[in-house]
Symmetry: C2
């Protein structure tokens, strides 16, 4: 085989992509060798504590920091006046500024000068010698408030509630529409209506937020630890601080979970940076869990008023939705992206001829939101799948059968109904939902589940099954960068613009590069999160890392290998057409004893040798992977649940998730993603909610009040993954799988509860708390 | 003017190159904002102390570290056995390994297992909680020695002295020869002979050596502070530690002087790195001044036995030299480079038809050497210029006139006599030494100096003048790297592979880039010494930075500007031929109100815009500057000196240095270089010497015994710089000026002493200590 032959350019058998490779991150993390942001301690560092608003809506009449300022060991107290020059925390420029020119008016102040809009909003910051002193001093900052009426409900916020911003409580709205909606409803055999609510909860990373900023002595430069998406964070900080991008150097730390809600740029980040720069001293900030619960980005909280027009056979003719999305007090980071995606993705994996959604992005006196894992899809899928269950009941068709009649099949492709999501046309171009659904129901043996539940109910137990169908969008975001370097020792370093947020991206990239170079993944280091090493990148969100970072790493590895062939040709004095790459070496075709290993090539092609002929030294290549558009994985979620009517308790007896993966790079990390997502989906369906009292005081500020599913509550998760339809949109064929495990859990749980309680349609809101189950059971006469 | 017109490609007037721009480094350093290696403190760091040999040559019979090891707070004690795996400190691979295959046999052990070869050699290392404890514990390490005979004199070392290495005491030798030497001597009217000795002294940086190594938790990576030439240091450390290059990340610190002698890789560096890696804790090492005096690289110490064959008119027909170069106990870093250069550069700026030098690189029981500012030239110039003074006397020609008859003139060019220096043919291709010498003597008004000295001698004062001619070689080393990035704020970052060792390279590169981009130097940051930012580079030695790093920075700036034009064309929707660059903006020719600033272009051409069309974001370009061969600045040094015969004291009454610069980038930093070099030249001529007793015990271990010229001893330096002959070898036209101020000082001082003492030839050795002056004065009957 010669390298000049395109078909034999593939240098070696691919052994690693697709294999159940254990996560390389774990050997480090499980041995306590992770370095999270709180493990960063800079000599001479000071500590920041934030003074937070204690009321949900008020005018600030005075801030008296004099007692804090004179406390020995306090170096600085910042209030709104001190950071006025920074302006509010800038939103990311994703295109929404053009649609909504006043968007920045709703962005989060670093510190307010005049009023507060939610409990927990930063009002002042104290920087002191140690964290205890900082906390004591923060308590000495006296803020006087003149309280104002609060608005908490999203529907009320745009229908008569007090106006919280000068420009009103609806910073953005989206209307998405295609087909003849009105006509379909006029002609429908059945019109089904419901209001569905999704509660306010969020990703709760084990690691709370933190930030460490070290000013470089004698230079106006900052070293920064603690950002999740280092490039975004650097860009926004640089603009706000008026510093050049290259003067802010982001450093890697391990990240104890992100899920979308920890990765933004927060007011606290700017406070730490501003203080460090002003004082010329390193400043560290680590929030405690109570702060975290009120100041991390919240998520979800939507109201859907949905109507479906069905024909006599249960075929959906049109879907209409009005949505209120409660963004809390300010817009944050990428917003109103989640609102856009919500309105676009309500259609799910269905063949819907006509559609209209109107979404109100709404401001209230609650903590601001961000995109939390499966943003918009978890909410919209709950509403839509509930509507299907309701329709099944009203029309009198089995809920599974109703779905089978409506899902997209291969004959519908390409499905491009004229919907735009996040500035991209929705295009479903690979797969067959019907086929997948049938395979998944067979794999789960769902018939047996139903039989089992029926039998148990006959025994007097309250057991039911629910189903949810899902379609995800993955791989959002134009590009990702990578850099592959083989060292003279044979070690390979992969640099990626992605972030390692627990998803195992280091493992996956090592697999991909190992296959391209023909080396062992153990010989590969994957580095990220350091802007000196990776000056440009995008990051890990929207289930994009494997596809985009993987695509970039693959391309960079291929370029490095091509260089190896070129240099080997020079060193061996052989035409490159006579060389082939195989298992980490470049050898002369037909003469396997004439070869150079990649390590030897890298070693010999040093600065002196390479520069002398005008070449770059080493085996080193960079690449950018550009993605034309998103990919759309789909699947189903099945839940069997038993209720204890005397306590309102429940047991998830069975839990099944299927997905069409296109191509799994690593089945083990895929499973990890799906189990983790399932746990979070269960949390949102049955446990987690940020509740507020009537004055807007948060009631869920500890894990006593904000319930998380623990190991005892998360069931064993049964998987079913098909690789029937590799996406044509990337060379790996992979679809993003970071969120599919989550999307339909709320819907399936709700269906299971209804089924357990006798089949009547009852659940219109998640989470279903124990109190709710207790009440529902009583209504159903089960107690 | 259009950019398509080559002659108008030069976008803006060059205002900064050539201007007396104050050093940008100073505002930081003078305000105490420098961060030197001892300013680096890593949380959790331990401290290393080195146990050093107390005898000059001995077999180690035992090392007992048990008392040190059990001391509470001691974490590790390393002896030779513990670091055997590292091997000795590798030499740089400059080509000498091919000439002398056994070179590495002479390299410096990290720690010895069997014997020590000089007082101060590291024998063990203690790592403890604090530096005081480490020092106490080091004193508990008991080393028993069986002493062996010592060899100290370089001539004796290769003529009957004890053999210190298995392969003998002469690891390398050089014979350089061209022309008919024997015949010239046979036919000469005059043959002049002398033995000249240059003492052992060194650069004494204000900052002693230090090293801080932090292991990255959970990864086999090291962060390193304290290297001078980060790329060399990283390469050698990586090989010795068996680590990939990219796993060792060198960090910038300020550098309190290098002068060639602090910049190598020392045993101590490997000890710190090995200990940090083994312990998983940061380790810091800072040497004290006593250690520094015995363990920093020493320099000079040569013996020249020289003969000149002159014709009747004083024209030099041939020069013959036998040289012994005392390298001390081991070869270090770039050796035997200095020996090579010495043998090659003895010819100086003279038209010498035939030449033969034989150099013995010799091992003795003294501290090892390295290249110290003007290596080989200071020594060879002293010897050669002394020979000229001796010849002037013996032949009976005025010493200035003798030189005028022999220097190279424009008509000799190109002068390429067939001599190889550091693997390059010696090629003098720009300038006219005779013309420069005449101008310089006029500028100095040397006739008046002589008249003044005569008059003062008549008054009974002991005053004389001396002259030395010099030729330097500069710009050694193939290439240098640079990277220029314009930020969206308009700030420019220049990355360079050079090192900032006090020479003002940041200032000079800012001037060069400012002129290319048409921006203010104040808007430019220059960064270096960080391998994450600059993965490949060479460093600052051999007066190469301005030429090579400057050339690279210039090329990178030009590429960035070319990109700015290209992107501006796209953004303004104008053909690039209609654009011109002027004063930091790209404007439409003839329409000066239609323009984009570089900042605007960088801001708009962000990741999203650029990647979407497959381009790299930002205004960012890298370049490598390759140099074909070295450049050869030349000049003269004149000294007028008065002796106090009663004390042996002296006063330098007048001091004049001239040089042909090709092109001065910054006259202010040029002057700084020349003053600093003059001070070091005066030190080597009149003050500084590492002396040893007969057992090889160093006698000069403090500034009480090792005299440095202070502000009171360094005279006002008069400059004369011509820019008559820009070198054709680089686009700046610049010649390296870092060492010219030093080279002929020893020669000129010696001539002045002879002249003061009545004209007889007396000084055959430098430094001339007060005791020597006292003795010489007595011999001359002046007392």
């Amino acid at each position: 085989m010669s390298l000049s032959n395109t078909s034999s350019m593939d240098p070696q058998p691919r052994r690693h992509v697709g294999a159940r490779t254990p996560r390389r991150e774990d050997s480090r993390l499980l041995r306590g060798q992770g370095a999270f942001v709180d493990d960063i301690d800079i000599t001479g560092q000071l500590f920041m504590r934030v003074v937070r608003a204690s009321v949900a809506h008020a005018r600030i009449t005075s801030i008296d920091a004099s007692a804090a300022r004179i406390l020995p060991g306090v170096h600085l107290v910042l209030t709104g006046e001190d950071v006025r020059e920074l302006g509010p925390v800038r939103l990311e420029e994703l295109g929404y500024h053009d649609l909504f020119p006043h968007l920045e008016e709703y962005s989060h102040p670093v510190l307010p000068t005049d009023r507060v809009l939610y409990v927990g909003q930063p009002v002042a910051a104290v920087i002191a010698e140690d964290p205890y002193l900082a906390e004591d001093a923060a308590e000495l900052v006296e803020v006087d408030y003149e309280e104002l009426p609060v608005v908490l409900d999203p529907v009320e916020a745009v229908s008569g509630g007090a106006s919280l911003h000068a420009l009103g409580n609806e910073p953005a709205s989206f209307v998405k529409e295609y087909g003849q909606v009105e006509r379909a409803f006029a002609e429908a055999a059945h019109v089904v209506r419901g209001e569905f609510r999704i509660g306010r909860h969020s990703g709760i990373p084990m690691e709370t937020r933190g930030f460490v900023v070290e000013p470089v002595p004698g230079r106006d430069q900052l070293w920064v630890w603690g950002a999740v998406h280092v490039h975004d964070c650097r860009r926004i900080m640089a603009r706000m601080l008026g510093m050049p991008l290259t003067s802010i150097r982001m450093r890697h730390t391990d990240i104890g979970g992100n899920f979308g809600v920890r990765g933004g740029v927060f007011a606290e980040h700017l406070l730490v940076a501003h203080a460090a720069r002003k004082l010329g001293r390193p400043v560290k900030w680590i929030e405690d869990r109570v702060e975290h619960m009120v100041a991390i980005a919240h998520a979800r909280e939507q109201v859907h008023r949905m109507e479906g027009a069905f024909d006599a056979e249960g075929r959906l003719l049109a879907l209409r939705d009005e949505i209120w999305h409660n963004h809390g007090a300010f817009l944050r980071q990428a917003e109103p992206l989640v609102s856009d995606i919500t309105a676009g993705m309500v259609v799910g994996p269905y063949r819907i001829p006509a559609y209209r959604a109107e979404l109100h992005a709404v401001i209230t006196n609650k903590t601001p939101l961000a995109a939390y894992r499966a943003p918009g899809r978890y909410e919209g899928t709950f509403a839509r799948e509930r509507l299907f269950d309701l329709a099944a009941q009203e029309i009198g068709i089995d809920p599974v059968e109703l779905r089978l009649r409506n899902v997209l099949t291969a004959s519908d492709l390409p499905w491009e109904p004229g919907l735009e999501i996040a500035f991209e046309p929705y295009l479903f171009n690979s797969g067959d939902v019907l086929d997948h659904m049938r395979k998944a129901l067979d794999a789960a043996d769902y018939g047996a589940w139903r039989e089992e539940a029926r039998r148990l109910r006959e025994e007097g137990r309250i057991v039911g099954n629910g189903i949810g169908l899902l379609m995800d969008k993955a791989g959002l975001g134009l590009y990702e960068t990578a850099d592959v370097e083989v060292d003279g020792t044979g070690r390979v370093r992969v640099l990626t613009g992605a972030s390692s947020v627990g998803q195992g991206i280091e493992t996956v990239l090592a697999q991909i590069v190992a296959d391209e170079l023909g080396v062992d993944p153990q010989d590969i280091d994957v580095m990220h999160g350091d802007t000196d090493l990776v000056p440009d990148g995008v990051g890990s969100w929207s289930s994009r890392s494997t596809v985009l970072a993987g695509g970039a790493a693959r391309a960079a590895a291929q370029k490095a290998l091509a260089k190896a062939v070129r240099v080997a040709g020079r060193l061996l004095e052989v035409d490159t057409t006579e060389l082939q790459a195989t298992s980490g070496r470049i050898e002369v075709v037909g003469k396997p004893d004439q070869y150079l290993t990649l390590a030897q090539i890298a070693e010999r092609w040093d600065g002196w040798s390479a520069r002398a002929v005008g070449d770059e030294p080493g085996l080193h290549a960079s690449a950018v992977y550009l993605d034309e558009h998103m990919n759309y994985p789909y699947g189903i979620t099945l839940v069997q649940l038993e209720i204890d009517p005397t306590t309102g308790g429940h047991t998830i007896r069975r839990f099944f998730v299927s997905t069409e993966a296109g191509k799994m790079i690593n089945p083990l990390t895929t499973e990890g993603q799906i189990i983790g997502a399932a746990a979070q989906g269960i949390g949102g369906a049955l446990f987690e909610e940020f509740q507020y009292d009537e004055q807007g005081q948060p009631l869920s500020t500890s894990f006593m009040d904000y319930l998380l599913p623990g190991a005892g509550e998360v069931p064993s998760v049964q998987f079913f993954v098909t690789e029937d339809a590799p996406t044509p949109d990337n060379p790996l064929g992979a679809k993003g799988l970071g969120e599919v495990g989550l999307i339909a859990v709320g819907a399936a749980v709700a269906g299971a509860i209804d089924d357990a309680l006798g089949g009547e349609f009852r659940v219109r809101r998640i989470p279903v708390h124990p109190q709710d189950l207790f009440e529902l059971s009583r209504e159903a006469g089960e107690r």
